[in-house]
């Protein structure tokens, strides 16, 4: 069968053709919204028109047949309109209030998980992991699934002082906003890479490899027409591996998971913050990563018990102080938590006033 003629540089379709009439009619004229439950909210326009949104979790990886099942529900209750969120949730856009209860009932019956709206845990931003990435030190989808099975109540019903944003990065490249999440997992390497000199010679541009190193641990090895790595300078970031595959950083027995907390991207109340390291290493234990999951759950619970209403994790910790965070959580403070890289000057304490 002949293929249709290709077109180039047409860009994405215009978004307005996909919007339900209630949005087209009230575009830019929304007055307020109300969260009705963790699963549903209503937006009210200046005109008085209303739009109900029902949110469900997706596992980010979706088979085409699952997308079609989502479409069937949208056809039935939303005149075929829906959207996705930046955190991989599906949002059914309900224009008629009488469909609000039935769609939620049908979603429940079909096994969809509704929730994720308001002060709880929404879906998890994450990377490709072993499913599809060459650089992955762990599997991101697997970690998300294991973690959310334990935290699912915070998605569906249980509330927290404020939103709590989770993220998972399968290496320190951190595709996604892991570095500014309330709690995030990042897979780390912990061992100096090994070099296949024969292949380096043929496959890699040496100046690129040398300049890829943030700690200047890589220098030329003229004898081998390759490079060498100064072991005591290497922080195992793997950037050399990214630019030069024969420099192998992967090590199943040593790769692990670090946990960082207290980041945020919004400017509400306090400025956006990076997440900070609190647990430097937990072994990589697929398929369920029990210790990682337990650690995250523990931090969530300590936050839930101690933070004030509307405080994000990072705001709560800044109010009480990091020394109190370690005390309250019982997490052992380790050398890795003290910055000896680019942020050292900003992060060491310069006052004798702190809490015991």
């Amino acid at each position: 069968m002949a293929l249709p003629e290709r077109k180039t540089d047409i860009g994405p379709p215009h978004y307005k053709q996909f919007m339900p009439p209630v949005i087209v009619n009230n575009y830019g004229k929304w007055k307020y919204h109300e969260v009705l439950s963790p699963s549903a909210m209503v937006h009210v326009a200046d005109s008085g028109d209303k739009l109900w949104t029902v949110r469900v979790a997706s596992p980010r990886i979706l088979a085409t047949d699952s997308i079609r099942e989502i479409c069937d529900i949208s056809d039935k209750y939303c005149d075929g309109h829906l959207r996705f969120t930046t955190r991989n949730n599906v949002e059914f856009l309900v224009s008629d209030e009488k469909n609000l209860e039935p769609i939620q009932a049908e979603l429940k019956e079909k096994g969809f998980l509704t929730g994720g709206i308001g002060a709880g845990i929404s879906n998890v931003v994450h990377t490709q992991g072993w499913v599809h990435c060459h650089g992955a030190a762990t599997d991101a989808s697997g970690l998300v699934k294991a973690m959310m099975d334990e935290l699912v109540d915070y998605f569906t019903t249980k509330r927290l002082p404020n939103k709590l944003r989770l993220a998972v990065a399968c290496c320190v490249n951190m595709c996604g906003a892991v570095h500014c999440s309330d709690i995030a997992l990042v897979a780390v390497h912990t061992k100096v890479p090994t070099i296949d000199h024969e292949k380096v010679k043929n496959m890699c541009e040496l100046p690129t490899v040398i300049s890829s190193c943030p700690t200047r641990a890589i220098s030329p090895d003229p004898a081998k027409k390759s490079v060498k790595i100064k072991e005591d300078k290497c922080m195992y970031c793997g950037n050399c591996f990214t630019v030069c595959p024969p420099i192998n950083i992967k090590d199943p027995d040593r790769d692990g998971i670090a946990i960082v907390v207290g980041g945020k991207v919004s400017s509400l109340r306090t400025n956006p913050k990076f997440s900070k390291l609190v647990i430097p290493y937990i072994s990589n234990e697929p398929p369920r990563w029990p210790k990682v999951v337990a650690a995250v759950k523990h931090i969530v619970e300590v936050y839930a018990d101690n933070a004030r209403k509307h405080e994000r994790v990072g705001e709560w910790i800044e109010r009480i102080g990091w020394e109190s965070f370690f005390k309250l959580t019982g997490i052992e403070f380790s050398y890795q938590c003290i910055d000896d890289f680019t942020f050292m000057r900003d992060t060491l304490r310069t006052s004798s006033t702190f809490k015991w």
């Binding site: 890699c204 541009e205 690129t208 990214t242 630019v243 030069c244």
Partner: protein
Amino acid sequence: MELTELQDKIFAFVEAAKGKKKLKEKDILKGVSAAEGLEKDEVKKAMRAMIDVGRLMYSYGGGASSVEIPSEEYLREKGLIK
């Protein structure tokens, strides 16, 4: 300069770097425009026309994009040679 002549010069420039340096698009524009005393935009247009017909191609490796001479495999896959 005739378009075909310019394209031959661009091709020669890329060929000379083959196996030595991965050329970014801007390396080619800079190098050829300086050598031939032409505007970068003119070189760009000529180079793009070559990429559109598979005489050159965009490549990716070492975490960055570059412009290269296509392999036979690529040309075969695109139906440009048998």
